[in-house]
Amino acid sequence: MQLDKTAVTISQRSGTDLIDLSLLVFQRYWTSIFCLAFLGAFPFAVANFILLWPLTQYDQLVMSSRELGEAAAFQTRYLVIMTAAILIQAPLALSGVTYFIGQAVFGDKPTLGNVLTAIWSKLGAITVIQGFLRMSILVFVPLAFLFQSPVFRPEVEIPLYLLCLCSYVFVVRGFRPFALEILLLERCPIYINKNDKSRIAYRKRSSWLHSGMAFELFGMHMGVTIVEILTTLSISLSTLFLIGVLTGIWSWGPWMDLIFFPFILWGIATWGTIIRFLNYMNSRIHTEGWEIELKLKAESQRLLEVAS
């Protein structure tokens, strides 16, 4: 592996340049990214479909509710919950994409087997950090409650699910976005023996990487979220237009609710994963002089080869 010959030019960039660059990365590796994203997202999408199905029975819900009197209000509720669920689950579901891009940047194109092996070897750490601490698996608990009792309860849903859960995930991910990169690409363990000086634990590494530029990272997270919302709107409205042209139905119907909108959200989440990885590279360049490290390492290898 030639460390200074990377598939993406390593240099410091602005936020908008990173988002633009993510389009070029997607353009080059779109088949592999699409396959890995589909494989990762499919189980989560099916689980969401089953658990949120009762929330789409708008007419029944209107009859049983005193707070919301219109089907449109229940539709909005379903879309908000679906969006929140996908965005919370996405980093875990798309961890294969994270690993793939991390390898592809250095010219290696891992096979599906390589990706699965890498994820399997870190499954415990990923489950603990991303699945439980960052809620990607725990989010199924409120979804299961909603499945059991889909009646709208504003005193639970708004303060607990929407404000506490979503805000917690948004803030944690905003200030410390690179959990999966540290676990999967840097392969830092959650716990290490005190005598082991050769490795660095996840917590310490995360603190080093994030604390120096926490507010820049949060700003970038906000910016990317706005861009993702605008792009989701653009694609959703265009899909609606296309459905209207093809079928003559110009309204947001069940097909949009159950199939197209979740599909668009998973697509946007995949794009977000690429942006996050590029931002990770940018952060390492900023805080650790990563591009210098790659160049110096490569030169060191050459010097050692010449010497031997």
Partner: protein, 341 residues
């Protein structure tokens, strides 16, 4: 992997004289603020025109029909000719593009002409497609398809290498960043140990181009990197070189790289400056810039018995490099200037 294969936001233009220019391409999200700003400027201009017409109406007392006609004409003119006129007469920039430091140029690197500006601005409407009706949001709203989704433009830009929208493809143009790149100038070291150590480096040690570039990059950025990390980075190169030069193991890696930089880029320049009017002595060291190709000259000089310097770990206090803007390419000139490849 060839260097140009790497994914990056750049485009290369080679002139008939075989001069190669590199442009930094502005992608859809770099261009988005310019679009929003231009919408805002157009809105402000429209309101100014409206107020002027209202005032004129008081003075001249023309009828309501004429007022509506003038309103529609000014709306049409602003909507269709704003971008066209600005880009033609302001060297590919509109106020929004100027503020966000982007510019439209031809794909061959030349400034755009009126014909290209016309085509790319008249096709703007196609880039807004598909337009969505107001009815979608309220059944009582009129069936006006006025809400742009920009999906055609986004897809088109994602699928082309230079991030060209339909208008750009038809007109043979691209949007580039005109922001100046920041290249660190000559770096000075206040610490006398750098010069002293550079004198102990074997005279016959020659750096390869890539090694010189890597060391230059390190020295230019080192002031912003914490000391521990700086030593860690420098150690990659310093470890094999310390053995090769027969230096003591506790020599500061950071200091060694600074000394190498000093010897390669500062001491040689000073030597050449002092000899600029005289013919070089026969045993003068060959001056090479980091861009000179010297593949054959690997660092293979065996360590001659050099008195090992004993300059250990304390960090040297080099002042942070003063960054001065240097134009990167023809596109870096100021907004009203012409781009001439």
């Amino acid at each position: 992997m060839h260097a140009t294969d790497a994914i990056d936001l750049n485009a290369f233009v080679t002139t008939p004289e075989n001069v190669r220019f590199e442009y930094r391409i502005a992608g859809p999200f770099r261009r988005l603020p310019a679009l929003i700003l231009d919408f805002a400027v157009r809105g402000i201009l429209f309101w100014i025109l409206l107020i002027l017409m209202a005032l004129l109406g008081f003075v001249v007392r023309f009828s309501g029909g004429i007022a509506i006609l003038l309103f529609l004409i000014s709306w049409f003119a602003l909507d269709w000719f704003y971008g066209l006129l600005f880009e033609t007469f302001w060297n590919g920039q509109t106020p929004g593009k100027w503020l966000t430091k982007v510019r439209v140029i031809s794909v061959d690197g030349r400034p755009i002409n009126a014909y290209q500006a016309t085509i790319r601005n008249f096709l703007r409407l196609a880039d807004f497609a598909p337009m969505v009706s107001l009815e979608l949001f309220s059944p009582d709203a009129p069936p006006m398809y006025v809400i742009p989704t920009f999906l055609v433009s986004l897809l088109c830009m994602t699928m082309t290498k230079r991030f060209q929208r339909l208008g750009d493809l038809a007109a043979g143009t691209m949007v580039v960043v005109t922001q100046r790149s920041w290249v660190p100038p000559h770096i000075k070291f206040d610490d006398p140990r750098v010069e002293s150590l550079s004198g102990h480096i074997p005279a016959n040690f020659r750096m390869t181009t890539t090694l010189a570039k890597a060391i230059a990059l390190f020295v230019e950025r080192r002031a912003r990197i914490p000391n521990v990390r700086r030593q860690e980075l420098a150690a990659y190169i310093a470890a094999p070189l310390l053995r090769q030069f027969n230096f003591r193991d506790d020599t500061s890696p950071d200091l060694l790289l600074c000394a190498l930089y000093y010897r390669e880029f500062i001491a040689k320049d000073a030597f050449l400056d002092s000899q600029s009017f005289a013919s070089p002595p026969p045993n003068a060291p060959e001056h090479r810039s980091p861009t000179t190709d010297s593949k054959a000259s690997a660092a293979t000089i065996s360590a001659s018995p050099v008195a090992a310097p004993s300059i250990a770990a304390p960090p040297i206090a080099a002042p942070p490099p003063v960054l001065e803007p240097t134009p990167r390419s023809a596109s870096d000139s100021g907004p009203p200037g012409k781009v001439s490849p």
